[in-house]
């Protein structure tokens, strides 16, 4: 039977648990200390998905004076920034600043009230979400949204399928295209699982994976669509410091394999260590932009973070 209608906006969930102890319960939680080791040497470079490849350092995506209102709430207020090919851009800000909403505008979940998002020089316009994914923007979710009753491998395969075109007739007669897509798709999906250190759990149901593995699986699923731009929404939420360190290493490896990463993170210290540039939002406005060093010393940022959560400003 279908799930009851879910009016929750995508990803706009309350504060994520900040300590390992507060993690959402998963049916089969592995011991907390266990950190799945990734295999950084597995080649997971993005495949050619038929969109123009931007030169390193060129503008990949531009958010141009985007405003988004929900009734009276101004979730984004004339926000502008851009992402260059090959960089890791941090998007930070206190809770409710509009970070997730920004992702939602970039991935077609919401249409901006005014302003536009340009990708590869062209406005995204009124494209459907799946069309934007096919153009090469992929994301993860702040609150994990895996296909819970499908296996890890199947989850990743859905991502790989984004660029496949097998339909009923092709599948029914097992035409060569079905075989080819299925073979290549499985190979790529397994590579991604291996990269994430999840190859041994390929046949586990997503919902039975430990919390940390679920987070990693979500990243693998997004990578499976061979994105030009990978958007990670608080991927370290609920991780302990050791796990967070591993995750930052993972994000760097992903970038080195040829991806551009936009990273939302609540934890300032974490973001400082891994990003090339940082954009800071507060109450839907951009209050600062610059290198980690510049952001660290920016009075407006310090004030914003001090006002919310002292620990995070350290």
């Amino acid at each position: 039977m279908p799930e009851p209608t879910n009016p929750e906006p995508v990803g706009a969930e309350p504060t994520p648990p900040s300590t390992a102890a507060e993690r959402p319960a998963t049916p089969a939680t592995a011991p907390v200390d266990e950190v799945t080791e990734i295999n950084p040497d597995v080649d997971i470079a993005p495949e050619d998905i038929g969109v123009p490849v931007v030169a390193e350092g060129e503008r990949l995506l531009e958010v141009d004076t985007v405003t988004l209102r929900f009734g009276g709430v101004v979730a984004l207020n004339e926000v502008s920034f851009h992402i260059n090919k090959g960089e890791i851009l941090g998007l930070i800000g206190p809770n409710g600043a509009g970070k997730t909403t920004c992702f939602n505008v970039m991935t077609g979940v919401y249409q901006p009230t005014s302003g536009e998002v340009r990708y590869l020089g062209k406005p995204l316009g009124k494209r459907h979400k799946y069309q934007i994914t096919k153009l090469g923007i992929a994301r993860t979710f702040q609150n994990i949204r895996l296909f819970a009753n499908m296996t890890a491998l199947e989850n990743v395969l859905v991502g790989v399928d984004a660029h496949h075109s097998t339909g009923v007739v092709t599948a029914m007669f097992r035409l060569p295209k079905h075989r080819r897509e299925e073979e290549q798709g499985r190979a790529r999906a397994m590579e991604l699982l291996e990269f994430m250190g999840l190859a041994g759990k390929a046949d586990e149901l997503a919902r039975n994976l430990p919390y940390g593995d679920q987070r990693r699986l979500e990243i693998a699923r997004a990578l499976a669509t061979s994105p030009q731009l990978l958007c990670l929404d608080e991927p370290a939420a609920g991780f302990n410091p050791a796990e967070k360190a591993k995750l930052m290493e993972l994000i760097r490896t992903i970038r080195d394999q040829g991806y551009t990463v936009l990273l939302i993170e609540h934890d300032m210290k974490l973001v400082m260590g891994v990003t090339d540039r940082i954009v800071v939002l507060e109450f839907g406005r951009k209050i600062a932009e610059g290198t980690p060093a510049e952001i660290r010393d920016n009075p407006a940022v310090i004030a914003a973070y001090l006002g919310v959560d002292e620990e995070d400003a350290s």
């Binding site: 859905v158 991502g159 599948a171 149901l205 997004a222």
Partner: protein, 379 residues
């Protein structure tokens, strides 16, 4: 929480896995034996299984129609997660397409009408689905419920479609009379070959319904193969992803609307095919054959069996259609017993008699986890 009982439970391969592990030749032989048994079933007259109060061949045909319908509805409800309460509408569209083209307003042979019936039912599925599938959840249930009733009321009120009297003299499927197949007689207590009661292979007549059942078996086999091939592909994954989390699926590149419409159209096509079979067998159709109750029974077959598992919904269809025929002497209590059975099922097997493999896999994984945790605690 982990109970000692759960923790000590061994992880044993289930029947399905043990069958899957058999060598291929043995599997093929087992399948052939099983298929032969199914074809011979109406002739074997096995005591207790056979229906004393109604023609067993006819009952088996009815059961197979339900199986066919359940397989179609399973694509919509089980795979794509769309609640369809008016599936009987497509069944009616299929039956009436055959009726109109072969008897009421034309004289096409039955066999020609079948593909047209499938296409018309499919088109009606697309027409109904296109505006409604963009909206989520409960809305679809209401719209499909309305669709089933609108179809029935249209049939009653349209003279062109035969009105309340319906359409008669629908031609039978074409047959070739090749040989006689004897049946088994158990009246003496031991099985004896009865050369007096035979079925003509393959004559689609008006009194012996066994050939219709054979035809239905072949059609079911074809639909099953189609189901397996399509489900084990990008299409099946897209359906499952959409059912699990529509937003996430869309954001992973699944054109969810297109795939929901596809599921709806394929389900409708199989419903229409079942209707066409029904029309060809009964030779006569009227609006009373397509009551709302039938939609509910179809859905019950899918839910009782275990939506999402094709073998489960087949079992569900058999349960829902066979038992009322087998125990006709309790006809007065039929609805009561049925209601009770459903309640018990909801309490003890909420996932259906044969839950989809995902539930089974999850249970086994849970059990493994318990064993693991237990092992660590002991160390």
């Amino acid at each position: 929480m982990t109970t000692t009982q759960n923790a000590t439970k061994k992880v044993r391969p289930n029947l399905n896995e043990r069958i899957a592990d058999l060598p291929l030749p043995i599997k093929v032989v087992l399948w052939i034996i099983f298929a032969l048994f199914l074809f011979a079933l109406p002739l074997l007259n096995i005591p207790f299984i056979t229906t004393p109060d109604s023609d067993f061949g006819g009952v088996l045909f009815t059961v197979s129609t339900y199986v066919l319908v359940a397989l179609g509805l399973n694509i919509v409800v089980g795979y794509a997660g769309l609640l369809d309460l008016g599936y009987v509408g497509f069944y009616a569209v299929g039956a009436y397409t055959v009726g109109v083209l072969s008897s009421q307003h034309g004289s096409l042979p039955w066999l020609w009408c079948v593909p047209i019936a499938i296409l018309v039912a499919m088109a009606s599925g697309v027409i109904l689905g296109a505006p409604t599938l963009r909206v989520r959840g409960d809305y679809l249930a209401i719209v499909t419920l309305g669709f089933g009733e609108i179809v029935r009321l249209t049939l009653i009120n349209s003279e062109w479609l035969g009105g309340a009297q319906g359409i008669s003299e629908i031609p039978r499927p074409p047959g070739i009379e090749l040989f006689e197949v004897p049946s088994i007689d158990w009246s003496t207590g031991v099985p004896v070959v009865d050369l007096g009661t035979t079925t003509t292979f393959l004559k689609f007549g008006i009194s012996d319904f066994i050939p219709y059942y054979w035809l239905a078996l072949v059609v079911i086999a074809l639909v099953l193969v189609f189901d397996i091939l399509v489900k084990n592909s990008r299409v099946g994954r897209a359906w499952e992803a959409t059912r699990e989390d529509e937003d996430a699926a869309e954001l992973m590149g699944v054109p969810t609307f297109r795939f929901k419409l596809l599921a709806f159209a394929l389900g409708a096509a199989i419903g229409g095919l079942s209707g066409a079979m029904f029309a060809g067998k009964s030779g006569f159709i009227n609006p009373q054959s397509f009551e709302l109750l039938l939609s509910i029974l179809f859905l019950a077959a899918v839910v009782v069996g275990g939506q999402g598992n094709r073998w489960g919904v087949i079992l569900g269809a058999i349960v829902v259609s066979y038992f009322p025929e087998r125990f006709r002497e309790f006809a007065d209590f039929r609805v009561l017993v049925f209601g009770l059975a459903l309640m018990l099922l909801a309490i003890f097997r909420p996932q259906g008699l044969l839950p989809p493999r995902r539930t089974l896999r999850a249970k086994r994984a849970d059990a493994r986890q318990h064993v693991l945790e237990e092992g660590e605690a002991g160390a």
